[in-house]
Symmetry: C2
Subunit: 136 residues, 2 copies
DNA sequence: ATGTATGCAAAACATTTGCACCTGG
DNA sequence: CCAGGTGCAAATGTTTTGCATACAT
């Protein structure tokens, strides 16, 4: 992801935006909060304000470059948008996040929306549990 | 729901708790934020502090009397716990919330958790869309 | 050049907590 | 009576906003 990609999304290719994109692209785990991102940038001596991190993430979300999730715990987390839509399973003990795809669930969701008369625009499926490492 | 039910849950049957339970039981729509509840109580001349509303809702949640949801929009919403687990479909325009149950999805979720090695403790499935009244 | 983006500090929210006073059992 | 509950106000944590300055094109 580089300057041209930002311009294509209608955003000026500024240093803060490029840095934020870089960090998020190389993030492992893929999911970071605004604060995580801010800390990562600070540690890398990149002088980006927290307000800018929030503003840029919101713009990236609108542009479809990143996806925001509201897992339990109060703050939003972000990940790079990727080709394949997927859902999440979160460890309630250690916070680990795994991803999965299930076509059957996707299809049933559409059926349910239709049955209720809704035009589906989005959905959020989050499973919570104990990950292999945290199970007794 | 009355005093005895609260005591059974290990909670003293105080006026604020009884009032909050009453409002939530008779709520329509079923889903209310802490602020909604506080306003409803104030309008009914019931003098309950906002901090108490939050404290009581948290206690009720721990006791399994109410369920908390984190829909989009920053604040948590609560509903009376009911026999049947269900998921939600929320109108992104007017905020209307409908409920649905789908056994197939429930079952697949268990499969997925198992496949990923997780011990499932909870899950959240929320569909977002335009409700019949808000479409086109 | 000039319209936007940024950094900082302050504001805005949702929620939690400390503490002196009240209340249910 | 007294452990626990409550109201209020202050603290917290997250996200947003106002504004003067800096930057991309």
């Amino acid at each position: 992801m580089k300057a041209a990609d930002l311009r294509k999304a209608g955003l000026k290719a500024t240093i803060p935006r490029l840095r934020i994109m870089e960090v998020l692209e190389q993030a492992s785990p893929r999911h970071m909060s605004a604060e995580d991102l801010y800390r990562a940038l600070s540690e890398a001596e990149e002088d980006v304000g927290l307000a800018t991190v929030y503003r840029v993430l919101t713009q990236f979300e609108s542009a479809g470059l990143v996806v925001r999730h509201n897992f339990e715990g109060g703050q939003s987390v972000f990940e790079m948008a990727c080709e394949q839509h997927h859902d999440h399973i979160v460890c309630v003990r250690c916070g680990k996040v795994d991803e999965f795809v299930d076509e059957t669930i996707e299809k049933i969701q559409l059926d349910i929306a239709e049955r209720q008369g809704y035009e589906l625009t989005d959905h959020s499926l989050i499973l919570y549990g104990l990950c292999p490492d945290c199970r007794g």
